[in-house]
Amino acid sequence: MGAHGNPVDHSTNATMNIYIYVLRRLLLVIPVLLGLSLITFSISRLVPGDPVGLAAGPQSTPEIRERMAAEFGLDRPIPEQYINYMAGVLQLDFGRSLYTKRDVNIELQARIPATLELTLAAIIFASTIGIPLGIVSSLHQNKPPDHVSRLLTLFFVSFPSFWLAMIFQSALGVYWDITPVAGRFPRLALPPQRVTGLLSIDSLLAGDLTAFFSTLHHIALPAFVLSLGALASITRITRASMLEALNNESVRTERSIGIPWALIVMKYVLRNAFTATFTIISLEFGWLMAGAVLVEAIFGWPGLGGYIVDASLNNDFQPIMGVTLVYGVIFSTVNIITDICYGLIDPRIRFG
């Protein structure tokens, strides 16, 4: 009972705690992003190079280069450039690319959904294959299924994704003609009307099953290749956590009182083991987004990968800053969601 004799509403308190927790985490994101912007800005300005000369062309005159530098504010002192840039960012204006002359916002809007969809598909692949594989492996410890699983994960972890991508692309795309070699959607067909930018979702929203299956057809191979490293990590962590949970005394007790083995595994062991797996899944999401650069290049995937590579090769400051900040926001968001999910998965975890 409460101090005034009213019953304490624990669920309301818990909800409030979550809100406060989320708010606090969101506030913490601000200094993180500020720090990230400062570091990225400093690095991009301190590295040697002549991005203006590069963008202006090999035969540009000094006058043309000076005019271009002034147009992009690169003739101002560096602290002033940073302040101007951040003033723009606060208004969600990431500036203009020196090399392409296009607004970074437009480029990001065009490319983020492609990378996000690929990463989501890869993490779904990695989880739906990796978790069962880890469970099977742990339940058959040191037996053939375990050996096969460990060998596979070793293989996936050891081989670079770009090499596997090229092998799979040649085999499945060219020789067996099972999957498209490259692209996100058939080039001669019109994609579904853009709502989210995720083609699979947009095609479903448009009620276009043809487009939906075609999207899956195109994303299957790149997502699978991208998922392999994460799949291996998820499998290994699931296996290790499962083994730890299986060796817990409570499992012996549950078996001794006659609870069915399948129920013990799915309800008690897996739930206890899943916190670690969930952590690695959320971490892998970030790694996959970053690692998508090479896979995107090989499968002609129009995501952030090609954009950031071009920007880096041309010392193009604004896109580099924009992509870094977007990655920062996505990582932070995933981390917050992960922390909230911990509480849902494991009731022992409380927010405060």
Binding site: V47, P48, G49, D50, P51, G53, L54, A55, G57, P58, Q59, S60, T61, E63, I64, R65, R67, S97, Y99, T100, K101, R102, I106, E107, A110, R111, A114, Q169, S170, G173, V174, D177, P180, V181, A182, G183, P186, R187, L188, A189, L190, L209, T210, A211, F212, F213, S214, H217, A297, I298, F299, G300, P302, G303, G306, V309, D310, L313, N314, N315
Partner: protein, 521 residues
């Protein structure tokens, strides 16, 4: 459960089958391009992919077809005696694709003035040269130059004509640059279709294009960005694309083995040079430069680079206009290199084994790294230490910004933008042009400056050839650089594609309006 799975497989199969009927279209050419088309404003955009788009969406006064640069929007032209005033008559049936208005002299004047006003990368051809452009009739235009400039008409392949009404309607505060960056206002053979940034760009053929179409001409093309060479080749072999550019030499055999594909390999004017810093460090000494030039084994380059290259016979390709025969170019000769080192101001350092040179090249780029390693090994044999200095391209560009940061030796590719010796020599060897990677030699020679200025102003071709011949003799004598090779342009095609004619001015850029498609997959 089995029924459910069966139904799902059935739906999926139907979907895929029905899809294949949707995608069957007319003669749409699918092109795997290695580079994005990030800017289609003729006043600001220029590289091989942008040129492919500009030549499709716009018309220029002149056009490069094969080895020739020929009139396009122009029906006739005449320069005065000293090549400082040019009168041109325009075709009278060209119209802009967006509103059907005529491409007339006013549009030419407007386009020229707009380009000069904006001052973007293509402007270097005319900045400080074109003084005035005026319409002398509805379809007549006069260019008045501030000084005689013989190769003027050659530069006009990059002067694309925009629709003044469209630009003015979208002028903004940047002369329509923001609008034209992604939207065409041209009269070219193609109009814009889908424009998916970072993914693909679609071009529809204009059926009643004033310039006409070849038999079996294409109905349009889609430029698909494919940054990876392996992706370009695999897409081509799988029938997902019909053409792919910048094919790696190691993939050529694989493609030629396919009965359905062929690769065009053409020697162009894409020239690789070792540029020596003529102003600072050991390479400022002409004898050191000569020694280094003699330490390169040119003959072995095709073998070690495993590429289709042509060794240069002098400062320019032999098939480029103005070539001087019989130049005394350096050959691989370490004894001669020793003689020059002994005669140099650095003889003491050389004898003490402390003579060092830096060789700058693009990080991990074998075509530049391998010759460097070869030169390093040869120089080591004669007691010179050469440091391999890999750099990212922007850093290399920056290093060429001034004499102090200019490397002793830097490996640079150049491509003349029009078919005249002026395009090759002026930006590389005239002392007024220091600051660009093209001029990383930091070369200064009054006689060469005088000849390059005079040749620009000379209308008589034979006289100009003489001047450029003398320039070449001086450059070779002073070992301003080590002229290495030209690299071939490689474009791969499905056998159903015809009509391609190689142009050395656009070695990896296809002129889509000339292509044909017959029974393509």
């Amino acid at each position: 459960m089995k029924k459910l799975v069966f139904c799902m497989v059935g739906v999926a199969a139907l979907a895929v089958l029905s899809f294949s009927s949707v995608v069957a279209q007319d003669n749409i050419l699918l092109y795997g391009g290695n580079q994005d088309i990030h800017d289609i404003d003729p006043a600001t955009g220029e590289n091989y992919s942008i040129n492919a788009a500009l030549r499709s969406l716009y018309d220029a006064l002149f056009i490069a077809r094969g080895n020739d640069i020929v009139p396009h929007l122009v029906t006739s032209f005449q320069g005065n005696e000293d090549a400082s005033v040019w009168d041109m008559e325009l075709v009278q049936n060209a119209t802009f694709n967006d509103d059907g208005s005529p491409v007339n002299a006013d549009a030419v004047v407007y386009s020229f003035n707009r380009t000069l006003e904006i001052g973007g990368p293509p402007t270097y051809r005319w900045a400080g040269i074109v003084e005035n452009v005026e319409a002398t009739g509805e379809y007549s235009v006069r260019f008045t130059l501030s000084r005689p400039f013989a190769p003027f008409t050659q530069t006009l392949t990059q002067m694309f004509i925009v629709n003044p009404a469209t630009v003015e309607a979208n002028r903004g505060d940047d002369f329509g640059a923001t609008y034209l960056r992604t939207t065409s206002a041209g009269s070219g053979p193609f109009a814009q279709g889908r424009w998916e940034i970072g993914n693909l760009y679609e071009f529809h053929a204009v059926p009643d294009y004033w310039g006409g179409w070849p038999e079996n001409g294409i109905d349009g093309f889609i430029w698909i960005i494919q940054r990876e060479g392996s992706t370009q080749v695999n897409s081509l072999l799988a029938g997902e694309t019909h053409v792919a550019d910048t094919i790696d030499f190691s993939d050529i055999d694989r493609l030629n083995e396919s009965p359905d594909h062929f690769v065009e390999v053409n020697p162009g004017f894409f020239t690789n040079t070792l540029k020596f810093n003529n102003q600072q460090g050991p390479s400022a000494d002409v004898n050191v430069r000569r020694a280094v030039a003699h330490a390169m084994n040119y003959e072995i380059l095709p073998e070690v680079l495993d590429n289709d290259i042509v060794i240069l016979p002098g400062p320019q390709p032999a098939n480029f206009p103005g070539f001087k025969e019989g130049l005394d170019i350096p050959t691989f000769d370490l004894d001669k290199a020793r003689e020059y080192l002994a005669a140099s101001a650095y003889a003491d350092e050389w004898e003490a084994g402390t003579l060092e040179l830096d060789y700058v090249y693009v990080t991990d780029f074998a075509m530049e790294e391998v010759p460097g390693l070869l030169l390093q090994s040869n120089l080591a044999e004669i007691g010179v230490t050469m440091n391999m200095v890999p750099m990212l391209w922007p850093d290399m560009v920056a290093s060429c910004g001034n004499v102090e940061t200019g490397p002793d030796i830097i490996n640079i590719y150049t491509l003349p933008s029009y078919g005249d010796p002026d395009a090759h020599y002026y930006n590389q060897y005239h002392s007024a042009n220091w600051g660009s990677f093209n001029s990383c030699n930091f070369y200064a020679n009054d006689r060469v400056d005088e000849l390059l200025d005079a040749a620009r102003a000379e209308a008589d071709w034979d006289r100009r050839v003489e001047m450029y011949g003398e320039v070449q003799e001086i450059l070779v004598d002073e070992a301003v650089g080590a002229w290495m090779y030209t690299e071939a342009g490689t474009i791969a095609f499905n056998a159903c594609i015809g009509g391609f004619v190689f142009s050395p001015y656009y070695p990896i850029t296809v002129l889509f309006q000339d292509l044909t498609m017959v029974d393509c997959p």
